[in-house]
Amino acid sequence: MTAPFLQIRNIRKQYGDVVAVRDVELDIAKGEFMTFLGPSGSGKSTTLYILAGLQEPTSGDILLEGRTLLDTPSHKRNIGMVFQRYTLFPHLSVGENVAFPLRVRRKPKAEIDATVSRALKLVRLEGFADRMPAKMSGGQQQRVALARALAYDPPVLLMDEPLSALDKKLREEIQFEIKRIHQETGVTILYVTHDQEEALRLSDRIAVFSQGEIDQVGTGTELYAEPRTRFVAEFIGDSDFLKGRVERAGDGRADIRLGNGFMVSAVPTHGDAGPGRDVALMLRPERISLFRAEKPRSLAATVRDVTFLGNNTHVQAETETREQVAIRLPFGHESAAGLQSGNAVWLGFDPSSARAFC
């Protein structure tokens, strides 16, 4: 088959005048772990719900292996889903919960029993089959929900912020389990989250949603190294922005003059970067060098705050144009020693590590 496994074709969802999802277009390969990342209200969950059939798109189509899904009602789509909230059936035991989709499909009892114990083993909850959901922790409940969603071997598994109700430690533990289960089963996963770290940890590719649209799709490294919009740069990783103006442009690069006249040459640009345009120059806090003495080609600034954060030190500095720059120094870095608020410092950076957005 030459067509992609799952195709989202121009999906749009409107409520009256409000556009929740704006012509989203995306292809997903078989076995891929694709994450929809974005702030709340960016349309990522709505897109997932449309895939699940729990909402209907205003226009557009969803194709699975080349056939449209929209004609099929939710309960016949054969798609697995894990919800943000705990959705175990409260009156059924863990085993009966996992057996539910198989019972509905009228599978023979022997097959059901075998599948249930295999699914519970997959999520490492063997021996919990007789436990009632109310007696389990949130993390265990979401693992059972995962087992239930995988019990009928769905071609696609949807996950709608399944870990958002859990605390950080448990979240990381279950992220690891999800990654393992993805590798073991090879199921295609569409995962919704607003947590960039979770997205980076889990995904093959990430689609960054903003205001109902996909801003950029790519691997975590791609999105971090080559953000195409300011929104993506802000959402993935930490970033500093300085105001500047294009002096000379061409070939996807531009020379940029900052507020106090400081020139940065040959910065890769995104957007229409004609001369004279105002741009935002993006720097990554950990790619900025900090010097205690003046250096050529570096930006003068004053330290406003120094915070030690375990494995690194955050320095907040203010440039001569009163713009705030965050710098991250690794633990034990010599220039962090004795640094304190009010110190004069000079900031250096490689223009090729910066990006300019119009």
Binding site: H75, T87, P90, A149
Partner: protein, 266 residues
């Protein structure tokens, strides 16, 4: 805890007073009646000169008492079934439907709880006389149904509101059709609400007396009505016996329902 019960004598004193008050004017009369029902004096002398089961024998020997209990049970049973079924459907619409006038409709269904019963009884009486339902079993059931529905709708609506709709969605994605999901997942999950609705509906009809007096005919009397009309003629210890049995039945039913609820919630 700022309010440590043992440290604040004043609180304790107040609570003891309220407890005494409620016990005095609620429990004592009931115990008093229960004692009289076993007392050997026909003139309700307290403390009774001796103990006897005679009044209970009289009660069970009189077919009119048994008949009225049977009418009570039939009416209350019919009211319970209708109240739970209609309450479930109304609650589903009120909780999940999005339509104009939803709040007004909810208020309409709850109104019988706050209207003066005596007015409702008078109005139903006059109205039923006119439309020919007066003194019929159907009229009886419908009148009590209107009184029972608010309890049923409140119990089931509360249970539905506490039930996360996502669970039903999850069942549907698991392959259950919407109706299958409701039957196999939603209904069992709100079973404690349905059960409470049934118990309340039954008790509302079983214990109700004002409307019942107006609905009753000589051949169609519920137990409370029978107690009432007998009392009009004579304050006999048989009434004390009937009252005691009615209280025991009611309290027993409530205790049973508590136990079942706990079991349902596990």
């Amino acid at each position: 805890m700022l309010l440590d019960f043992d440290r604040l004598g004043w609180w304790k004193w107040m609570l003891v007073s309220i407890t005494a008050l409620v016990t005095l004017f609620l429990l004592l009369p009931i115990i008093f009646i229960a004692a009289l029902s076993f007392g050997s004096s026909q003139w309700l002398i307290f403390p009774p000169p001796g103990w006897t089961l005679r009044w209970y024998e009289d009660l069970f020997a009189d077919p009119r008492w048994l008949q009225s209990a049977w009418v009570s049970a039939k009416v209350a049973g019919a009211v319970t079934i209708l109240s739970v079924v209609l309450g479930l459907l109304a609650s589903l619409s009120l909780t999940r439907g999005r339509f104009r006038g939803r709040e007004a409709l909810r208020a309409l269904f709850i109104t019988p709880m706050i209207l003066p019963v005596v007015v409702l009884a008078v109005a139903l009486y006059a109205f039923f006389l006119r439309i020919g339902l007066s003194g019929t079993f159907v009229g009886f059931v419908l009148a009590h149904l209107v009184l029972a529905l608010p309890f049923s709708i409140i119990s089931i609506s509360n249970a539905l509101e506490g039930f996360d709709k996502s669970i039903e969605d999850a069942a549907i994605l698991c392959g259950a059709s919407p109706w299958e999901a409701r039957l196999r997942v939603t209904l069992p999950a709100i079973s404690h609400g349905l059960f409470a609705a049934a118990v309340f509906s039954f008790l509302v009809s079983w214990d109700e007396v004002v409307v019942a007096i107006f609905m009753a005919s000589p051949t169609l009397q519920t137990l409370p009505v029978k107690i009432w009309t007998t009392l009009r003629q004579d304050l006999t210890p048989v009434i004390a016996a009937a009252s005691t049995l009615l209280v025991l039945l009611t309290v027993g039913l409530m205790l049973l329902s508590l136990l079942v609820r706990k079991a349902l919630k596990r």
